[in-house]
């Protein structure tokens, strides 16, 4: 039951990743096509900070971070756990992946929050 639930979440986060990663690509990599501004302009410090101060961006980026990390690390866990290993080693793999995921999520959230609360000119 637990594995079914984890697998279901792996599938359920896919639409979130497709929509939000698509938006991320449009803003950061295809700005000339979608917004009529150069990539350099879309990525300069002031523009990046200005975008990062929006509540919607804060929420959506944290959501993308959580969804992509879960999807990616669950997939990685599946690949690693296919290798011949004892149940004890399997537990170590699971714990390490959860630890890595939580660490990267906390770090990514902190960077997003830092951008959101950045004081321009201060």
């Amino acid at each position: 039951m637990r594995e079914t639930r984890l697998w279901s979440w792996h599938l359920l986060v896919i639409p979130i990743i497709i929509v939000l990663l698509g938006a991320h690509f449009a803003v950061m990599h295809y700005a000339p096509v979608f917004y009529g501004v150069s990539v350099e302009e879309a990525r300069n410090f002031e523009t990046m900070i200005e975008r990062g101060k929006s509540v919607a961006q804060l929420v959506l980026y944290v959501l993308l971070l959580a969804a992509a990390l879960y999807h990616g690390l669950y997939g990685l866990r599946g690949i690693i756990r296919e290798l011949p290993m004892s149940p004890a080693l399997g537990k170590i793999v699971d714990t390490s992946i959860i630890g890595l995921g939580l660490f990267i999520f906390a770090f990514g959230t902190y960077v997003t929050w830092w951008t959101f609360s950045f004081k321009i000119g201060g």
Binding site: F45, I79, F107, V111
Partner: protein
């Protein structure tokens, strides 16, 4: 006691199962591609989060990094990343449809010549991969020739 007796974990092929799987069909190559792009994307994502944290070191550090990313080698890496993401996403949609039982046809009596669900699903596979190829080409043209 026979040490070769299969248990819950010693009967797995591991990487050998990736490299050699007997008959290689189109779907088998997609499986390999899905795994390789998936691992590439998760590795990139972890690096990307660390690299974008560079903004906390100030304007100069950020602009320097963005200048580096604007160079040709990084543009090519960016394009490969885009291609990997498109392939992984569209192949993932195909896998999701298979998982949920769409486009597999109804179960039939196994009468010769046999028709497998994979064969019934294959036209959709070709359409999805053609779409992925088209998006990858269009994405490249927009990235390199804006």
């Amino acid at each position: 006691m026979n040490s070769n007796k299969p248990t819950a974990y010693n009967n797995r092929l591991g990487i050998k199962g990736w490299v050699y799987a007997g008959k290689y069909t189109f779907e088998r190559y997609l499986y390999l591609g899905h795994r390789l792009t998936g691992m590439g994307l998760i590795a990139y994502m972890l690096l990307h989060i660390i690299e974008t944290a560079n903004r906390m070191r100030g304007v100069e550090a950020w602009e320097g990094l963005m200048g580096l990313f604007a160079s040709w080698p990084f543009k090519i890496i960016e394009y490969l990343l885009f291609a990997a993401a498109v392939f992984h996403a569209l192949n993932g949609v195909r896998l999701l449809m298979t998982e949920l039982g769409f486009f597999l046809g109804k179960p039939k009596e196994p009468v010769y010549p046999y028709s497998s669900s994979i064969k019934r699903h294959r036209p959709l596979t070709y359409i999805i991969m053609a779409l992925a190829g088209l998006i990858i080409i269009l994405g490249g043209s927009s990235l390199f020739f804006p």
